[in-house]
């Protein structure tokens, strides 16, 4: 049986933990709102970009001399998995579920005899994957120092991936991140960015027979657009991820706060019982002592 002092200490420590989880939950809630707004603000650009690309690419895809970023290298052997996670933990299953998706994909590719490399954005994913795929992690990009996630950050990552692609480092690049649905639901997602996956132009975009004029030329525009598309997809992924991370952390910390509350209740009950038992015992001792006289 735990002594009264032990119980008192435990209650105090659980209370302190509860205060921390409560504070983390509120911080996550505030950050979530901001992250959600940022993700929503970035959506129009990505959508318009997709539409423009769809218009442009449908005519170019099968043309000889189509840019590599669109047509691919003609091979499907070496894969680069860009795994985007958070730099911090304590966000429920957020990091683990992205890493799991990437791991399953990597195992599948390896089983097919393909070569797999990882580029991790965010330390947590790297920590998990390093254990399972030692030596396959090219680099880890930490976003710890980044205060507000801007397009320039995504652009840097995008340019780096494209440079590697043009140097012949890999054939296919896939992004892994978590799509934000709601506070309780984030969906780990894989998205291929190189070669570009472009949806077919929808009927709405048909020009009624009119022909686009291109300035300077179709090829040159595509040449600039495609790398931009990679950066934009990364930017979108990072923003979705940021919102998902805060959402996941918020619900995880909400749970933790509730659990701590239950624990405090249970411990207090035990503490009070023990205290009463002790008082009763002392009384009995006094009374029986008095009777003996």
């Amino acid at each position: 049986m735990a002594s009264l002092k032990d119980l008192r200490n435990r209650i105090a420590s659980v209370k302190a933990t509860q205060k921390i989880t409560k504070a983390m939950q509120m911080v996550a809630a505030a950050k979530l709102r901001r992250a959600e707004l940022a993700a929503a603000a970035a959506r129009p650009y990505a959508e318009r970009m997709e539409r423009v690309l769809a218009n442009l690419a449908s005519s170019m895809r099968d043309a000889p001399g189509a840019p590599q970023l669109l047509a691919g290298t003609g091979e499907d052997r070496r894969h680069l998995l860009v795994v985007m996670t958070a730099d911090r933990g304590l966000a429920g299953g957020f990091n683990a579920s992205i890493a799991r998706l990437a791991r399953d994909e990597a195992r599948r590719l390896i089983a097919e005899g393909k070569e797999v490399r990882f580029l991790c954005v965010g330390r947590k994913g790297a920590d998990i994957l390093r254990r399972q795929f030692p030596g396959k992690i090219d680099d880890v990009i930490s976003l710890r120092e980044v205060k507000t996630l801007g397009y320039s950050t995504a652009n840097e990552i995008g340019e780096r991936i494209i440079r590697e692609y043009q140097d012949g480092g890999f054939d296919v690049a896939t992004l892994f991140f978590s799509k934000f649905r709601s506070v309780v639901s984030q969906i780990p997602t894989a998205q291929q960015v190189i070669p570009a996956q472009i949806p077919e132009a929808t009927g709405e975009d048909q020009l009624n027979g009119a022909i686009y004029e291109y300035e300077p030329s179709e090829e040159e525009i595509l040449e600039v657009l495609l790398p931009k598309n990679v950066s934009i997809q990364i930017f979108k992924g990072l923003l979705e991820n940021a919102a998902s991370e805060q959402g996941a952390r918020m619900s995880a910390m909400d749970n933790a706060t509730r659990n701590a509350g239950e624990m405090i209740k249970k411990l207090s009950l035990q503490y009070n019982r023990t205290r009463q038992a002790q008082i009763t015992k002392e009384l009995i001792e006094i009374i029986s002592g008095a009777e003996a006289l």
Binding site: A38, A41, A42, P44, Y45, R48, M49, R51, V52, N55, L56, G150, Y151, A154, R163, Q166, E204, D205, L207, N208, A210, I211, Y212, E213, Y214, E215, P216, E220, I221, V224, L225, K228, I232, F235
Partner: protein, 133 residues
């Protein structure tokens, strides 16, 4: 006069989405004006100023853009800008920052085509800096 839907978006946000009568766009091969019923056109942009006339002949809204694309189709004009700053908020310091970025791009360029493109950007930014301040 007819109006058409105009949108100006940067990766970070949607800056303008409204019906306008006339927009002047700094295209890579020269400025061009867009009115309603313009023929479909897609053009890259050079760093410069987009002028938005809500009513033709009125006072334009001016925004600095740092390259990107313009897409004119029957549904209107969409400008995808790499960066867009309303002229009122633009100052020499912001332009200098853009110029420094462009200088880095020139230094980092991996092949000649890219270097030429980056150099052109840089020159245009410098010209703009000279003409504005």
């Amino acid at each position: 006069m007819d109006t058409f839907p105009f949108e100006l978006v940067s990766p970070e946000k949607l800056l303008i989405s409204e019906d306008v009568e006339h927009v002047v766009v700094p295209g890579m091969e020269g400025e061009f004006g867009v009115l309603a019923h313009h023929a479909p056109l897609m053009s890259t942009l050079k760093p410069g100023v987009v002028k938005v006339y809500k009513t033709d002949g009125g006072e334009p809204r001016r925004l600095f853009v740092r390259g990107g694309f313009a897409d004119v189709n029957p549904r209107g004009l969409t400008i995808l800008a790499d960066e867009a700053i309303p002229m009122e908020e633009l100052d020499a310091a912001k332009l200098d920052l853009a110029i420094r970025d462009a200088e880095e791009d020139v230094a980092d360029a991996v092949d000649d085509a890219r270097r030429v493109r980056a150099q052109a950007q840089l020159d245009q930014l410098r010209e703009l800096r000279g003409s504005l301040f």
